[in-house]
Amino acid sequence: MQKLTNLLMNPILVKEFRGRMRSWKSILILVLYLLIIAGMTLAFIYMQGGNSRYMNPGRSREIFMVLCVLQLGLIGLVTPGLTAGVVSGERERQTLNILLTTQLSPTKIILSKLTSALAFIGLLVTTTLPLYALILLYGGVGPGQMLAVFGYYLIAVLLFGSIGIFCSSWFKRTGVSTVIAYGITVFILGGTGAAALMLQEWLRYVNRMVTTPVEFTEFFYVAGLNPVAQMLSMFSPDILLPVMNTAHVGAEGFPLPAWLYYLLVYVPLIALLLFLSVRLLSPVKRPLFTRKARKIQETQEVSSK
């Protein structure tokens, strides 16, 4: 309990929450976020209904998919903006050096900043819950799928957040850090999809003379990197595994479960980015490898004698 209290009373979190909730920008982001996501979802519902004056419940699955993609896109839009200035901003405000001389370790600083961004995105996503409730009301989507989607959101926020924090630790200026963080986010959200489509066309070209059934497993490994394709594969698995000369395949045709592949790639990447951010933030870097560390220690012992 004491540990939990300490964690919740972490001074950086308290300061960040306080600062964020006092800023009109946060309210503006919240309003814009809701306007965009609700406006687009309701517009899609209206278009799906055509001229009829009722909602077609059979279409709720499609609406859910649109809402999920929209939400993921907006998370990709907001997260780098929230995180790409957390370290460089402290540096520019000339508060970083002071912070580093306190008892707060670089690890605690980085993780607190990430948690703060995560909490704000959590607030944004939570405010959109009524839209999900609207869809769940008409069926077509199970609570398990809903939870899985939120799992994908969590990984996406952690991924884009750690990219933002890494850029912020690496680049001294927030402007540069923000541009690079958005560049990488756009690549992950769009670039991996475009690369997968190009690969698909190339595979179709290479296999154009083949008449037997073909599954493009190579495609799975590229498309599986795309968060949007990953999330939609829950509803239609052939997004990640296109085939030729055969009927539609299910998720059982994947070389390994899609979510597992996603986690295997991105969780270590998130951990690596956070580790590098902590290392970049540490003013005095200890050698990573023991042999080098031992050599330095020996040199210091000799010089102290």
């Binding site: 009373m9 308290v14 300061k15 306080r18 000339q94 002071i98 005095v284 010089s303």
Partner: protein, 308 residues
């Protein structure tokens, strides 16, 4: 309390600090003097665990700054030459944030913050947003922030820079109070007479090398190679000049009204003989005093403007 052994710091080819050796006893106020770019801030950053030395060691309270930075941070309060504040916090919230950062229990913080604000004369601004404070007030708030965990050592890099005369005086008074509290203080400043008034020990650094380290009343002698004697007489100053100016050890002598100024390079025994000679010859000596020396002059003599 602070020991620096062969400290060297290079930035590429630029040698910022070159084999610096220093020892500052506990309770000492140490003035760090040098032109811009001499290596003062670099040395202070190393002591504040913010910079890894290229070579050599530095210890604060017996802890190596590279090996045990967490323990060193418990002992020090660091105020850089330029620092920012979190604009969207009040003065109390600002200090509360740093109290939390130093793991001070929540229930102890209100009384502590009140005491600190009183110490730096900011009690009236407790609930004011930090961005509404003047530069001098922010500087004092920064000093209060340094003291939040009651550190034994204060590392203050140009704490009076950019302040108006009143703010300087206020800052000086707070530092004198901290000296009375027995803190070990390292302070760098370009306002040299201020340092002379506050410091016990002065170190002059140029181009990364320590060129003089002595108690403030001896620094002039150590640097210039002579001490300045001010002899006030009620009358017959010219006669006193004639008695002394040719003696061994007297480098220079000049008469200024009823005062005789002598640059003396001899020892203590020789100095007593000067006085004895004047008295023996019946000259009306009102006072015979050794001057601490003009620190500005010392600074200019030693640094020779190389850093500018």
């Amino acid at each position: 309390m602070i020991r620096i052994v062969n400290l060297t710091k290079r930035y590429g080819k630029f040698l910022a600090v070159n084999h610096l050796n220093m020892h500052i006893p506990a309770g000492t106020v140490f003035g760090f003097v040098g032109p811009n770019g001499a290596g003062k801030s670099t040395t202070m950053s190393v002591l504040a665990t913010l910079l890894q030395p290229t070579d050599g060691q530095a210890y604060v309270g017996g802890f190596n700054v590279v090996e045990e930075p967490a323990k060193v941070r418990e002992l020090i309060g660091y105020m850089p030459d330029f620092f920012g504040v979190y604009d969207n916090l009040t003065a109390v919230e600002y200090l509360d944030f740093y109290a939390g950062a130093y793991n001070i229990p929540k229930e102890k913080r209100p009384a502590l913050i009140q005491d600190l604000l009183e110490l730096v004369n900011l009690s009236g601004k407790a609930n004011a947003y930090v961005d509404t404070l003047s530069r001098g007030m922010k500087q004092r708030l920064g000093l209060a922030r340094c003291l939040v965990h009651d550190p034994q050592v204060l590392i203050l890099d140009e704490p009076a820079s950019g302040l108006d005369p009143r703010a300087r005086i206020e800052m000086k008074d707070i530092l004198k109070e901290l000296k009375r509290m027995g803190k070990t203080i390292i302070i760098s400043s370009h306002i040299l007479p201020e340092l002379a008034e506050m410091c016990d020990l002065i170190g002059i650094i140029e181009q990364g090398e320590l060129i003089a380290l002595a108690p403030v009343d001896q620094i002039h002698e150590q640097v210039a190679g002579h001490r300045v004697l001010r002899i006030r007489l009620t009358d017959r100053a010219e006669e006193a000049y004639a008695q002394l100016h040719y003696l061994e050890g007297v480098v220079h002598a000049e008469v200024d009204g009823n005062t005789l100024l002598i640059k003396y390079a001899g020892d203590d025994h020789g100095q007593t003989e000067l006085l004895a000679r004047l008295v023996k010859n019946g000259l009306p000596v009102l006072s015979f005093a050794e001057e601490a020396g003009n620190l500005e002059e010392v600074f200019l003599t030693v640094t020779k403007g190389v850093g500018s």
